[in-house]
Amino acid sequence: MKLIGLRENSWRFLPALILGIIIWVLFKGLDFKQQDPTPQISDFPFPEFSLEDVRTKQIVTLDDLKGQLYIAHVWASWCRICINEHDVLTQIKNKWPYNLLGIVYRDNPDKALSILANKGDPYEYLLNDQAGQLGLSLGLTGTPETFIVDSQGVIRYHHLGALTFLQFENQILPILEQINHE
């Protein structure tokens, strides 16, 4: 009798235990979300494109990028988060020797240029994706997004949302160095 009673009692704790675990998982998940939105390692080819450079008005294609490692960054002047993030990119450019490819997404080129004039221009190329075609082929879910494109024109890494300098050093830099080793 006592044994059964004990068993009945311990059954009572099962839902509490399950709920406790769920809440813990949710709490931890929240923590994760904070540190790291959604890093994605991928190996898709960068889509073909032929777009004007915002500054030089010259046509740039995918072939121009091949042979070098690029950090491609999609942004726009109407995107508040992108503008706040801009300093991080300038910092990256100042500290590391990697090439930056800017993609101005569905934006007025003049507005984009005026921001660069104010805050500095870290980009090798600055593509004008006014029609949003490149963004569409990239499968953009929002701005800003950052891609690492290797010398073969393959996307090796895809970062959603704004980048912090810490994230760059901890997550992206190792990948860049690894690609450089290859």
């Binding site: 009572r12 839902p15 509490a16 709920l19 406790g20 769920i22 809440i23 998982v25 949710l26 709490f27 931890k28 998940g29 929240l30 923590d31 994760f32 979300k33 904070q34 959604t38 890093p39 994605q40 726009a76 109407w78 569905r106 949003g132 569409l136 879910t141 929002g142």
Partner: protein
Amino acid sequence: MIPEFGLFALIMALLLSMTTVILPILTRSSISEASQIKINASVVLGQACFILLSFVTLVFCFVQDDFSVRYVAQNANTYLPFMYKLTAIWGAHEGSLLLWSFILALWMVAVLFVAKAIPGKVKMTVLTILSCIQTGLLMIILKTSNPFIRILPFFPQDGADLNPLLQDPAFIMHPPFLYLGYVGFAVPFAFALAECLLKKMDYPWASWARPFALSALGFLTIGITLGSWWAYYELGWGGWWFWDPVENASLMPWIVGVALIHMLWVSAKEDLFRTWRLSLAIFTFILSLMGTFLVRSGILSSVHAFSSSPERGIAILGFLSIVVVISLGLLSHLRGEQKQAFVLSPWSKASTILLGNVLLIAATLSILLGTLYPIISQLIWQKSLSVGPPYFNTVLLPMLFMILILMSVAVHLKWQQAPDFLKVRKYSVSLLLACVTVLMLINLTSLSFVAALAFTLALYLIISTLMFIHKPQKIGMIVAHIGIAIFVMGIVFVSSWQIEKEFAMQLGQTVEVEGFNFTFNQLQEIKGSNFEGTRGTFTIYKDNQLITQLFPEKRFFIAREQAMTETAIHSHLMRDFYVALGEPLDNGAWSVRFYIKPFIRFIWLGGMMVALAAFFAAIRSRCIKEKRVASYEIDRFA
């Protein structure tokens, strides 16, 4: 000045709801119970008035285009049509929580006025518990998501506009109904806690909580159905359910809510399974809160993609934890006198309902696991992955089948005894008939085995339920169960016979799909108050007879810089034609998607039938309807 007025009202509401909680403790000995009940009622009313005031103030800010209020600037625009200015209130986090609180206040007023048969003391306890929830919620709103924060002195000239996905008539109604459901489950939850607190075992707790649980379930069903309909035509993917985390978050309380109303019905008849019933009431509300958390914290990425900050997530999670600890603590302290043992046959109605309950809980836990698995996997294996429809379909389909069988059988069983032998023989005859139907369906139609089985079970359920058509008191059950059967049939037909084609079409070109001729007639520019775009004209012919003309659109929302696909749908009870304009291609052609969806309306028809049945059963409930009889019973209990 006006937004501050709203904030002031919100603070007043918080103070009053705190008063409701503290007053009974302070005045326990000094004031008579009758006057305590009176004070409680008036404070609850006052609190509801202030929340209403605060809600109306926010509406006013939206209508006035007051972009100095941050929430308005983020979610509205001068060119936003008036209807959407009203609905933009629940377009984002702050307003959604205010709506949550407003609806909770409405439910409290409903408890106060509608349930006449409930004794004052019980009502006061229930309202006090609900006030505790309200207090927590208002604190969260004021601390982390105050909708009245201003951007001063330099405020934007124009707002950022409402997310275009949400600019849709179905979306106007979707969140309020969903919240009416979520929040409504707070009432049976409060009744469960009151039962644990007051320890009056002989009160008819189940029949008191039942109308509230039923109407909450009805609202939640409408909310989910509207959401599914909205996803079908607004997201432009042609599906009606995506096992998206946010959808799952609303489905889980629904399933446990279904288990709860059945258990409440059993308990209202016979005092059985008390702990199980109380746990269900508590878990339904906890799942509702968890749903709010999942949607509002942005912890899981989903089509709904609500932006968020972790601070808000932590606030809601903390609230959830407090609710869990208190309610489970109260539940575990419940010690009733042992009821005398009775014999319950495994083939009785009561035990089949219990078995159905267990299946529903198992289904909920599977959905919960699938929904949280991405987080768990990131936590343990540091891998981000998503769990898709294959998992959910594989796991839930067998459970759905078992539940369908139980539903058809259970209604014919006796309360506590096994059925007699004659009936068993009748069942085996119908089982044989069902097997024959499955085999015939597979041979004669293009249905797969699973689809044929599902269809047969649904048919079986309809026939078995219709045997009660002569009993008007069972009308709620009949409509709801047939609704489920129709819903299942809709799924079977859509998944077996739908046609999805994609073409690159030039203007003037005609393509043939399953005997229907689709022609791309025209392409024109359009301009709305807050968007511009392109509209295509398509005609559908069958045997040279015009069936319909469709106008799918591609819209570009100016303020948000966001492109949206407006699908065009010709709907008919028997079949939907669905045309979506894709992207323009290089050679002047457009990519165009044609879907033919047979019987997809059945899915939502089934949902609406369930909702209607729930409301009907709620209105018919004894505690609302038969006031005199019930109060007589209370006298006897007292």
